[in-house]
Amino acid sequence: MKTTIVLAVLTLLIPVAASAQDGKLNLSSLDRLAERASEKQEVTIDESMLKSVTPGLVRPGPKADAAKQVLSGLKGVYVRNYEFEKDKAYSMDDIAAIRKQLSSAGWMKIVSNEEKGKGPNDWELQEIYLFKQQDGKPGGLVILNAEPGELSVVNIVGTINLADLDGLGGILGIPHNVGNSLGK
């Protein structure tokens, strides 16, 4: 009986483990925050969408090859950006589910800044994580910025690092310095 329960639990955990192995986060826990946000920007671009449009995405130019190379390594781009009118709209507990995923194997925190003041709304958090696949290659990254009135979660999946983002700069109407500040 005990063995059966353990096997059942393990079976249920397989999809979670599998999703964690490709550098993609489950962002569904943020859905309830979206309902409270006064402004929100949500972007979900999966691999099939990227592959179907990549040929027409990059126009010929001096940085086209670099951009194509970066895009070919992308497997998904997921962004959640919320702004709240009230500072108490969310707490650190609301992003605990995201951070818990980032504590699993493969994720490595490369930047962390956490500040807590005296007041209940006097806190903020900035973190950057890189995901390494079993072969040591990059599998994705997460940029997290949480402040009382604003929350941004960026999850880029694929063989990409911060410096690679610069390869897209100036090509898609993207600033030239994307990823420059921390990636180099």
Binding site: V43, G56, L165, G179
Partner: protein
């Protein structure tokens, strides 16, 4: 004679002979059929239907290709726009993180 003139002459409407109807009826009554060599490609009902079907198929294929291309272009534009938004937010978030990291701890006011 130039080609335009030749085409105009070839396509010009010609009046049927006055006894055409009588001759056709007489042949039908006599059970005669027109010689095969006299049949034009458009005179047969089957040919006409086949030609119409071919034209329709080509038109439908062309329309579908055009529609698919338009859809693909719209999808590309949409994804491109979303990618721009995503990377702009990424850039802003990175700048925010860098700004926080570059602030001395004591000047953060916490």
């Amino acid at each position: 004679m130039n080609m335009d003139q030749e085409l105009r002459d070839a396509l010009q409407r010609k009046q049927a002979p006055p006894d055409l109807a009588d001759r056709v009826l007489a042949r039908i009554n006599n059970g005669e059929a027109a010689p095969a060599s006299n049949r034009g490609p458009g005179s047969s009902g089957v040919f006409r239907w086949l030609a119409a079907a071919a034209v329709l198929a080509i038109a439908a294929g062309g329309a579908e290709t055009y529609y698919t291309q338009q859809q693909q272009a719209a999808e590309t534009a949409r994804v491109k726009q979303e990618l721009q938004v995503a990377l702009q937010i990424t850039n802003d978030t990175l700048a925010r993180v860098q700004s926080k990291l570059s602030q001395p701890a004591e000047s953060s006011g916490r």
